[in-house]
Symmetry: C2
Subunit: 249 residues, 2 copies
């Protein structure tokens, strides 16, 4: 059966305290097995994971880095507050978050929120995905899978794409180890990061500006088996090691 | 209108000389505006972009690198032959191709081809996409958009995803510069690599092993405007610069 991809339109501007799963369930007739992708920005706004710039006092590191990146030191402080390790300070901050995700400016957003406020990523994005999944089951009785997405840069290629920062009801990786190709050979490529492949297309459907499509439903996608081990250990991450070696500038 | 995503099934094993666009048109009733994603592996097999390992004589560099990566020196020679610049030799070869694409083992594949043969990426993947697009227009009269995909690793996250190595009838990047968010602010995220977002989901539908789905059709996807400038200049690529600095091991 063909896959259907449905952008969820006509949702309101999301504010702190909104019941996001309930609002989405008003617009979508979910079926068992659907994959719902939700933009982290709206999840964070609903849960109050936003900050007032005026309430942030930048520390010495934030002031020092902001002078290099030409950003607001209070914004830089928020990025540092969201980060557990800084891989690069300049020309942009690249850092690791508590979840293991590595992203530019720790995923802190100025866009799609009121002036003077910023959106931070959900501190526990796996729990966020599980919470949305459980809420949809409670409201509709349907067993859906959920991905929380963010728009993110990547190495070696210009432009941002959507990635998964949290997921529930599926593993991040489809593990093909032991599987064979059309000629019966054992495969070379064995770990497909399917959760990011779905998040990427969801992000295309969402867009980046005033489209107002913060959620996307995928119907008739296969299930897969694998694991959630999507983040490298620091010492097995070759590119991180290279960046750390070159961090001082 | 919802987006439909259709895996193209029941294609034969593709061999040199096969008319791949004609074979696909037998299975798909194309509509104007469809996006067709084609796996680079089948395009390369149809065009004869494969090599016999037994016909390759490894040079000194290939022998030296193969001792580190524990690969067949003839395979390593094929990777070097496909590459214009080597960013990393070990634990895997990461290199730049003539198109500007940076990939592990230069995208050279052992899988889904006969024993002792390897598949190399199309040397001109943009021309490959244009050729498939023109052929479909000739056969069906329909104006479709085409992406040539490959499965590829990425930095900072385990697992491979699909990316676009060639495209025709669209730009790689949806350029939002000057666009505004839901609150009227100018956007921070301005260049969305939509061609890779579509390729990623196509790769999910294709799978990696014996699924036999080398092509995927997307129906009802919006059009976008932007540019094709997806590859950085070497000197603007921070991660490449860091890797080059640490290349010697
Ligand atoms: N209806 C609605 N759409 C929103 C809201 N906030 C963001 N969006 C839309 O959600 C999509 C993704 O927004 P974005 O800010 O890029 O989220 P991110 O990728 O998670 O950082 C875009 O289509 C936005 O227009 C909101 O409060 N309400
Ligand atoms: N019908 C058919 N499917 C193929 C052929 N070669 C590869 N595939 C399928 O195409 C998809 C992608 O194959 P893969 O080798 O991963 O291609 P790559 O990602 O471009 O390197 C998988 O579903 C394969 O089973 C072929 O010759 N015929
Ligand atoms: Mn974001
Ligand atoms: Mn976004
Ligand atoms: Mn490949
Ligand atoms: Mn593949």
């Amino acid at each position: 059966m063909d896959i259907q991809v449905i952008g969820v339109r006509d949702l309101p501007l999301i504010r702190k305290g909104d019941d996001l799963p309930a609002l989405i369930c008003e617009k979508v007739a979910f079926e068992d097995g659907d994959i719902l992708a939700v933009a982290s920005s709206v999840y964070s706004k609903a849960k109050g994971f936003t900050r007032d710039l005026s309430a942030i006092t930048p520390g010495a590191d934030a002031v020092r880095i902001a002078a290099k990146t030409k950003e607001d030191p209070r914004f830089v402080q928020a990025v540092l507050d969201s980060s557990t390790d800084i891989l690069l300070e300049h020309p942009f901050i690249l850092s690791e978050l508590p979840s293991g995700h590595i992203g530019v400016r720790a995923g802190v957003d100025h866009s799609n929120v009121e002036d003077g406020r910023i959106i931070i990523l959900p501190p526990d994005p796996m729990a966020a995905a599980a919470e949305v999944r459980d809420a949809i089951r409670r409201i509709t009785g349907k067993n859906v899978r959920v991905i929380v997405t963010d728009t993110c840069g990547r190495a070696f290629r210009r432009g941002q794409t959507g990635i998964a920062i949290g997921w529930a009801g599926m593993t991040a990786i489809d593990d093909y180890r032991g599987d064979t190709d059309l000629f019966g050979h054992v495969l070379e490529i064995t770990e497909e990061a399917v959760v990011d492949e779905v998040a990427a297309f969801a992000n295309f459907v969402m867009g980046e500006s005033h489209q107002g499509v913060p959620a996307v439903v995928f119907r008739n996608c296969r299930a897969w088996n694998g694991h959630d081990n999507v983040y490298f250990m620091p010492e097995e991450d070759i590119i991180r090691t290279a960046l750390k070696g070159n961090k001082k500038d």
